[in-house]
């Protein structure tokens, strides 16, 4: 049964990749990449159970972290065209932040 879910997740990944490739706007592509990352986290966990090595979950945690940071970084770069802008709360801008 675990093999079945690995295959189904691979199909879901292929469909998401299709949306990422043909998304009409940039935001569709970012959304598809983000959801691709979430599914990759699930696939890593499933593969760990499939091969009898649940240590793969450490990689899944790491991938979840990288996925979130990558999404925010891409959106920030698209919006400001730079990584140098600091994102701070409005009421803290005047302090040392």
């Amino acid at each position: 049964m675990i093999g079945v879910s690995v295959i189904a997740l691979t199909i879901a990944l292929a469909l998401t990749l299709l949306r990422a490739l043909m998304g009409p706007t940039l935001y569709d592509q970012v959304l598809a990449v983000n959801s691709f990352g979430t599914k990759t986290v699930l696939l890593l966990g499933m593969l760990g159970f499939f091969m009898g090595r649940p240590d793969f979950l450490d990689l899944a945690i790491l991938y979840a972290l990288i996925n979130f940071v990558a999404t925010i970084a891409v959106l920030k770069f698209v919006r400001y065209r730079s990584f140098q802008v600091t994102l701070v709360r409005k009421d803290r801008k005047k302090g040392e932040g």
């Binding site: 049964m1 998401t16 945690i61 996925n67 959106l75 919006r79």
Partner: protein, 121 residues
């Protein structure tokens, strides 16, 4: 006390079955989310289809893996992944939606959404 023992043993027998049922169910939810994100007409509606994957599929699959987990360390790692995905998932969705809205992408409202779909066909 004996009832408790029986309960624990029965749980140990049923555990692989629960896990084996919930994992494919969650994977099916992920496929449904992908199909939805391919079918829906504009960006904002695709966001809803993607959030099925972010919440439903993640929860069901992680619960299924928790039933299969051989050791409590695996269980705690699954909890960490679940909490992390539930904190970052809506934040990332909101960031993408807010960026699209700030950039001036207008959503299709009401009957427009389905009308355009027919036109495309």
């Amino acid at each position: 006390m004996e009832i408790w023992q029986d309960f624990v043993q029965g749980f140990e027998v049923l555990r692989p079955w629960f896990g084996g049922a919930l994992c494919p169910l969650g994977a099916t939810l992920a496929v449904i989310g992908s199909i939805g994100s391919l079918r829906f007409p504009d960006f904002y509606t695709r966001l809803h289809a993607a959030s099925v994957t972010d919440t439903g599929a993640v929860t069901v699959m992680l619960v299924g893996m928790a039933f299969l987990s051989p050791h409590w360390l695996v269980f705690s790692k699954l909890i960490v992944i679940w909490v992390f995905l539930f904190l970052t998932g809506p934040t990332a969705s909101h960031a993408i939606a807010n960026a699209a809205h700030t950039a001036g992408l207008q959503p299709l409202i009401g009957a427009e959404a389905t009308a355009e779909k027919i036109e495309v066909d």
